[in-house]
Amino acid sequence: MPSREEVERQIASLPRHAQPPVRELGRRSEAAEHPFKRPAPAAPAEIGGAIDTLGHAPLALVGKVGRREEVVAACELARALGIHAGMAATHARALASELDFRPAEPEADAHLLDRLALLAVRRWSPVASATPPDGLWLDLTGCAHLHGGEEHFARRLRAFCRRAGFTARVAIADTPGAAHALARFAPADITLVAPGETARALSLLPVAALRLEGSALVAARRFGFETIGDLLPVARGPLARRLGLAAITRLDQALGSVAEPIVPREDVAMPLVERRLLEPIGTAEAIAQVMQDLVGDLVEVLQARGLGARSLRLIGLRVDGGEQVVAIGTSRPTREAAHLLRLLKLRIERIDPGMGLEQFRLAAPHTEPLDAVSFGTVLSGESIVHDPARLVDVVAGRIGERAVFRIAPVPSHVPERAVQRADPVEAPGDWPPWCRPVRLFLRPEPLWAVIALLPDQPPRRFEWRGTAHKVVAGDGPERIHGEWWRRDAEVWAVRDYFRVEDEEGGRFWVFRRGDGMHQDTGDLSWWIHGVFA
């Protein structure tokens, strides 16, 4: 029996939420709680300290289960507050006001899990599949030695998941069912079961580890089956009658007497063509020739699969073992050989042949379906709308994707906010037909020595960039109010814009801050914002 100090030290080393209530520490003077009551949540003050150390508020995901909103998942901090999955959302909110509630996104979770499965197929084992909602199956048969043995692999897998931001538990067993159970219910984070030891490893786990239906679980509880070990000695017939046939199948699957094949996540192979050269090459012309051959091959592959390439990657293997990689992207799926070739040729200068390149691979990492499209009613006289995607690709290949754009309207009265850069391929809408200059200054420039009648006459004269302009005609004002929902400073701000023409015929867009009546709309200073033709 450990001494009292030892027990106290052990208790102190436990995390706050796992420490037993005070009553169990032996203070009999306090009122004892009901023995079947859920352990009381830790005091909020203590959790407050924990929030600071972890850097985020306790988080719980809320989703709809049946017809009620309930907590679907809770983080460790939230669990320490007494929030657990299956609790009504309102109950959880009442328990902890500082809880960070977010809606659960099962589709996004499933998508992420699918991506993980794909990664597993590419990286660890050709047979891998996702087990919704939260698991992965990998068939390690014949693969474990590639990753340094099962134990090493399990540790690497866990380290990978931690880097990727997941908390992972790994179990390796003879059957997928046993691994599924052990990964979720075994005491350790990493469980390795030696071949043939499955039944012993499983016997200590609760019945729920067998992926049973809710009714079978209820029945198992009623008949006193707590662990899987309780099920093993029972005769099959009576067990099937009590728990249902599905439960028996699950048990057999876990023990290996019923096969449960893993349906692997299919990895659609990337279109890839390759050319090996008799002699290493180094000149631009030779590389261009290889590019032409490779693009021809790849276009055939794409044609056969009905795909169009959105990106291409050309990998050249150098004699000294180095790799030269160039990549291109297109704005629409295409398999037009001449176009792809021209884009690739723009990148030739980025290839460093070194002592020579002896092997080339051309892959299309990103493809999209490309089928015949309707030609429209050309015969009836409708004009063809030319697709600018090819032009966009060519220019983007030369100066970068961000440097090619369309300018699209933004619903805003403020001139400098009415435009934004947009996707160059899609045709944007149009602006309202208010008179606007063709050149707009990034920042309005101040005007000096302005003579204008208040409140709403255009200036008679002004000086700008050291030159005096005498105004002969003016239109305005066009009053533009600040957007109060953006900044506090714009709540009352007003600009009165005028279009003025000077003696030489120069037409300018000038504005006055303030409406000339109220002090808080602006300071009545004059600015020039743009130039008309």
């Binding site: 220019v395 003696e503 120069g506 033709a533």
Partner: protein
């Protein structure tokens, strides 16, 4: 054994056709007899390089030159249904203003290269691609070799290249160095007609053709682009008859 046909005469004929003011190539008329009548071939040649600069270094003249080009590009984009490409390293172009000259957001794609070198490469790439209906480029320094390349590429693609020559210094003539451009234009703002009511009338530009192949230089006052990019001749000049009548400037070439 019959001798292989000599390819030389063919290519010489092609080069001659490319370099001469041939009448059978496509033309872009302005739709103004006063302007088209004085241009060789009855309009701007479609597959050619045209250079435009502001008459003075003022921003108004620069804006007028910009809109002059925008109007040409807009009419071409409207006719062909293909977008125009606007290549510029500057950031002060205001798209709603362009849209009011007929070059709406759906008809123009912008490209913003870092420098003039990349700009010329982009223009040439776009010409070789053949998709744009017109290419407008704003460039400062363009060498004779570069203009010749652009002119040849434009002739091959049959796409107009409209080069807005920016001034690199306050009193430096952008047309001082020679160029292979088909036409060179000076554009300046002119006082608009005074209306009977308060307000600014339709803008007027003084358009001066400094040089054209196969034709004489001239100058003219026109009214600025409307919303379809069309110019107009001032109607019935009452007060400024002298300005509307063209005076040739033989010194500029």
């Amino acid at each position: 054994m019959p001798a292989a046909p000599d390819p030389l005469p063919d290519s010489i004929a092609r080069l001659k056709a490319m370099a001469s003011a041939a009448v059978d190539c496509r033309m872009l008329p302005f739709g103004i007899p006063a302007l088209d009548g004085r241009l060789a071939g009855g309009g701007l040649r479609a597959g050619a390089l045209h250079e435009v600069a502001g008459r003075s270094c003022s921003l108004s003249d620069d804006a007028a030159a910009t809109l002059f080009l925008a109007g040409i590009a807009a009419r071409e984009a409207q006719g062909s249904g293909r977008p125009a490409l606007w290549v510029s390293s500057r950031v002060d172009l205001y798209a709603p203003g362009l849209a009011q000259a007929g070059l709406s957001a759906a008809r123009v794609i912008h490209a913003q290269p870092r420098d003039d070198h990349a700009l010329l490469a982009v223009v040439e790439d776009a010409l070789r691609d053949g998709t744009p209906s017109a290419v407008v480029a704003e460039a400062g320094k363009v060498s004779m070799v570069a203009t010749r390349r652009l002119q040849l590429a434009a002739a091959e693609a049959d796409i107009p290249v409209l080069l807005l020559r920016r001034r690199r210094a306050r009193d430096r003539d952008p047309f001082a160095e020679p160029s292979a451009a088909w036409t060179r234009w000076w554009i300046a703002t002119a006082p608009s007609e005074r209306l009977d009511v308060a307000g600014v009338g339709r803008p007027r530009w003084s358009v001066e053709l400094a040089r054209q192949r196969g034709g004489e230089p001239f100058s003219l006052i026109v009214e600025g682009c409307d919303e379809t990019g069309r110019l107009a001749v001032p109607a019935a000049p009452r007060r400024r008859a002298a300005e509307a009548a063209g005076t040739a400037r033989s010194a500029a070439a």
